[in-house]
């Protein structure tokens, strides 16, 4: 990985196996946007502006439920809090770059791209340290194109998919696949159980703050479970 071009190509190649998993998720995001009543332009703008599937689907769900904009924004930001964690962990590797790099690279940050890139930075290969941002750019570009294309197909199909197909059920199914790798140890399982339980019970609270309440109780429960664990 001695040149920029090689690093970019390696980034693209690294995400290719993940694209078949992204495409149906994007399709569902596009379909759901249309089913929620967004125009085609708004549905495409949502994917273009936010570029983060889980939060896009949460936004659509709240929109359908009639939540107020402030709660929708709060929920989107809560769902996307993990990006702050990714940002902190990538930060030292991006410090030699100017704004013209940092700002677009931030926009391209998604789970897959982050995970692949940080793993290679941690290997400590000096050649990768020099061109890692090209690797990240390659992966990010491939994921971005796939996401936008899949959303567009979903938007295009949207109007022709009957409600009886219950396609909204695809949303929790996608989240399940994202949940599994997050259950790394007992503390993370405690965080998930608490988050799920509180969100379910709090769904009856006014303002549709159930997801936010679930998320923050889950985080707190995870930290408590971790603290109680005897240190080896």
């Amino acid at each position: 990985m001695s040149t920029r071009r090689e690093a970019f190509a390696a980034g693209v190649a690294a995400v290719v196996p993940m694209l078949p998993g992204i495409a149906p998720f994007g399709l569902v995001a596009g379909l759901t946007a249309i089913a929620t009543g967004l125009s085609s332009v708004q549905a495409l703008a949502l994917s273009g502006l936010v570029f983060a599937g889980a939060s896009q689907l949460a936004l659509l769900q709240l929109l359908a439920d009639g939540a107020v904009p402030a709660v929708i924004l709060l929920t989107v930001l809560t769902v996307n809090l993990r990006f702050a964690m990714y940002s902190a962990s990538l930060a030292p590797h991006f410090q030699h770059l100017g704004r013209r790099w940092r700002w677009p690279l931030a926009y391209l940050m998604v789970d897959q791209n982050y995970a692949l890139t940080i793993q290679r930075y941690h290997h400590g290969d000096p050649a990768f340290a020099a061109h890692g941002h090209w690797f990240y750019l390659g992966g990010g570009a491939a994921l971005w194109l796939t996401w936008q294309a899949a959303t567009a197909v979903g938007v295009f199909m949207g109007a022709s998919v009957p409600r009886a197909w219950s396609l909204d059920f695809a949303i929790p199914l996608v989240f399940m696949v994202l949940l599994v790798p997050a259950l790394r140890d007992r503390a993370h399982v405690v965080a998930a159980l608490t988050g799920g339980l509180v969100a379910t019970v709090a769904a009856d609270l006014p303002l549709h703050l159930g997801i936010v309440a679930g998320a923050f109780s889950g985080i707190a429960a995870g930290m408590l479970a971790e603290r109680r664990r005897p240190r080896a």
Binding site: V28, Q42, A54, F83, A88, P172, L179, A199, T200
Partner: protein, 107 residues
């Protein structure tokens, strides 16, 4: 919600998400990430994803429903098993949607 408000919500969601992504990349040279925040952020994916999944399965028609009449719970449990072992979006979608359609046809 008016069209203008909807557009502002979409723009706000995009801008806010980008600012979260940029946050520490941009501020890293001025201050370190507090250790407690780093610990807290580690639990975000597990807590958030569970908060999104659980109500969609456990609630039916606006109330908690743990009965066998809750077809989404039954289909969801099957899909959860598939997600657990395969970690594959396509397989999980196929199992969950397939099970739901089958149960709806039988019900």
């Amino acid at each position: 919600m008016s069209q203008a408000t909807l557009w502002l919500t979409l723009l706000g969601a995009g801008l806010g998400t980008w600012l979260l992504r940029l946050s520490f990349i941009e501020t890293w040279r001025w201050f370190a990430v507090p250790a407690w925040l780093e610990r807290a952020l580690r639990y975000v994916p597990a807590a958030v994803m569970a908060a999104l999944v659980a109500p969609a399965l456990l609630r039916n028609g606006g109330a908690l429903d743990l009965s066998l009449d809750n077809l989404r719970l039954l289909a969801g449990l099957l899909a959860a098993a598939v997600a657990w072992f395969s970690r594959n979006v396509l397989l999980t979608l196929a199992a969950g949607m397939g099970a739901l359609w089958l149960l709806q046809a039988l019900a």
